[in-house]
């Protein structure tokens, strides 16, 4: 339970974030301000925002739980599963999206392929974000229930109210700037827990010795690279093919919530630098989210649900005052993820669905209003869908499972679209649909094809490959667009020209 000082810190934090977010309302007078921050934000704020948005409840609770069960191999997601992809995004993809004046990734796909591809991609992301919102809400409720005994629905409603308020009024500028504060609080709170817990277990070497000697199932808890025949969800083959080559790139290049931040940059250098700066910060994340799970193995052995390791560590390790700080850090991670999903989904719906299909040619104020209303509607959907995640064994793996359905095929058509001018609209459409169908098929019959516990990494690789091959084959039998039509959309076609544009 929290002490009085903890409640004070938490409430002060929530009120402070509310006020800060609301302050940015004054900078929103158009849909470009609401969705792209008026293209005025600096790299450091964007980089911090990318990172903190990516480590919400799922990392604090889910990754600690995975580390408790499987060891440091879950850190692959923040290291090899992020850094190379962020560099590829920074130097190749982001400059094209930024210079093209895009609002959304599906908007690029629509220009490169056709409106069907744009709509499918956009609807897929909207559905995923809605489900993801529910997962994040549920994760917060689990933690708050353990820490404070709050009923699950009370926790969810408090989170939704706070985040909804500043996201509704301040748009992406409020999202990014509150993220900056949230990252600082998250690092301070997270590192405090890690240092105190490390002290409690007797230091790093003692931690390694104790865990390694707990039995054969713990021998590989400190191996980043797991054998291909491991029963954990993280064999090196899956990490390399599924995560590094597909899911990481799909996430950092094709995820609207990530890429939209870079599109708010004040110029091309800031857009690129935000991703690289973000990749540097990303490498620190496993220290915050993974180590508490490892230390819980010593301090709280035998937990049936690994996702409870972080809440238990907070309760047992931190003194009054610091529990409030850590709780604020968790709240920061949660809010930053939720606000990103809200704003990005509002952007996707307004730009890719409402504007082309429901009301073309309306004035800008109208689209600004639609963006704000969508934010509220999504918030309600997220609340209503939150119990779904309780049916999955691990929160983090649940999200990866949702992602693996379409990340591979989406990345396949993005990759071919930007690097191969021969790729046709029908190739892209076929690759996307058949790739997603194949991913669903593999997931449905996974017991027949895979031996590991949760094969989402393999599913993403094979669905990428199928999407890639189908796109190439269909492209060979259909007519490509002219080079004029592809200007600014394909690497070989525009590379030299665009380098001189500001």
């Amino acid at each position: 339970m929290l002490a009085g000082i903890d409640y004070f810190i938490v409430i002060a934090y929530i009120v402070g974030i509310l006020l800060l977010g609301y302050y940015f309302k004054r900078f929103v007078s158009s849909s470009e301000d609401y969705f792209l921050g008026g293209k005025s934000l600096p790299f450091w704020a964007i980089g911090m925002s990318i990172v903190v948005s990516d480590i919400g409840a799922m990392d604090f609770v889910g990754v600690s739980g995975q580390a408790y069960r499987y060891g440091i191999s879950v850190g692959n997601f923040d290291w090899i599963g992020s850094v190379p992809a962020m560099l590829l995004a920074a130097f190749i993809f982001i400059p094209y999206f930024w210079k093209g004046g895009m609002y959304t990734i599906p908007e690029y796909l629509g220009k490169r392929y056709n409106s069907s591809v744009r709509t499918i991609a956009s609807l897929t992301w909207i559905i995923f974000f809605a489900v993801d919102l529910g997962v994040l809400f549920w994760a917060s409720a689990v933690l708050l229930n353990v820490l404070m005994g709050w009923p699950v629905w009370v926790s969810i409603l408090i989170t939704a109210t706070v985040v909804g308020f500043y996201t509704y009024f301040g748009g992406i500028t409020a999202v990014v700037m509150t993220d900056v504060v949230q990252l600082v609080i998250m690092f301070v709170g997270g590192l405090t827990l890690v240092f105190l817990a490390l002290h409690a277990v007797g230091g790093w070497e003692e931690l390694v010795d104790k865990i390694s000697n707990m039995g054969p199932e713990y021998r590989q808890h400190f191996d980043l690279i797991q054998p291909s025949e491991t029963k954990t969800p993280f064999p090196w083959t899956g990490i390399l093919f599924g995560l590094t080559f597909v899911m990481a790139n799909a996430y950092m290049i094709g995820n609207q919530a990530i890429v939209q931040r870079c599109l708010t940059a004040k110029n091309e250098w800031h857009a690129k630098a935000s991703m690289i700066f973000g990749s540097a910060l990303k490498m620190l994340i496993p220290i915050l989210v993974l180590f508490p799970g490892l230390m819980a193995i010593i301090i709280h052995p035998g937990l049936e649900d690994g996702d409870r390791s972080l809440p238990m560590m907070i309760k047992s390790t931190l003194p009054p005052g610091l529990i409030g700080l850590m709780f604020s850090a968790f709240f920061a991670g949660l809010m930053s993820s939720v606000d990103s999903l809200l704003n990005s989904t509002a952007t996707l719906f307004t730009k890719d669905i409402y504007e082309p299909y429901i009301k073309k040619g309306a004035d800008d104020k109208h689209y600004l209003k639609v963006g704000k209303i969508t934010t509220l509607v999504l918030l309600i959907i997220g609340i209503l869908t939150s119990p779904i995640s309780s049916k999955f064994p691990g929160i983090y793996v649940a999200i990866q499972t949702f992602l693996s359905y379409f990340q591979g095929p989406m990345f396949a058509i993005l990759l071919l679209g930007i690097f191969w001018k021969r790729t046709t609209q029908w190739g892209g459409l076929s690759g996307l649909i058949i790739g997603i169908a194949f991913a669903i098929y593999l997931n449905t019959f996974k017991a027949q094809f895979f031996t590991i516990e949760d094969p989402f990494l393999y599913v993403s690789w094979w669905s990428f490959l199928v999407g890639f091959i189908v796109t190439v084959m269909v492209s060979f039998f259909t007519s490509p667009y002219s080079e004029d039509r592809l200007e600014g959309l394909v690497y070989k076609v525009t590379g030299g020209k665009n380098n001189n544009k500001q």
Binding site: I72, W79, I80, V83, P84, L87, A90, F91, P95, F222, D223, L224, I225, Q226, P227, S228, E229, P235, W236, T237, G238, L240, F241, T244, N267, E268, W269, H270, A271, K272, A273, I276, F277, S279, A280, M283, L442, F449, F450, T451, I452, P455, Y458, W462, N499, Q502
Partner: protein, 71 residues
């Protein structure tokens, strides 16, 4: 096949070398990026070694290499 059984003969040590080699390869590719492209958006007079994004990328990759080398 789909389960990557055909790679089960590759040891963890060999797999680690593959990962490390990948980081080196990416680093080499980063070095091939033209300086002009890495500085795009920065005024000519403001271009210094510390805002060369290629160096930022190499620094990040070096840390990543170290993490995988140790663990």
């Amino acid at each position: 096949m789909l389960n990557f059984d055909w790679l089960s003969g590759v040891s963890q040590e060999s797999a680690k070398i593959v990962f490390l080699a990948l980081f080196v390869l990416i680093g080499i590719l980063v070095l091939f990026i033209p300086n002009e492209y890495a500085y795009e958006g920065v005024e000519k007079d403001d271009r210094h070694w510390w805002n060369n994004l290629k160096l930022w990328a190499i620094g990040v990759l070096a840390i990543l290499f170290l993490i995988y080398y140790i663990f």
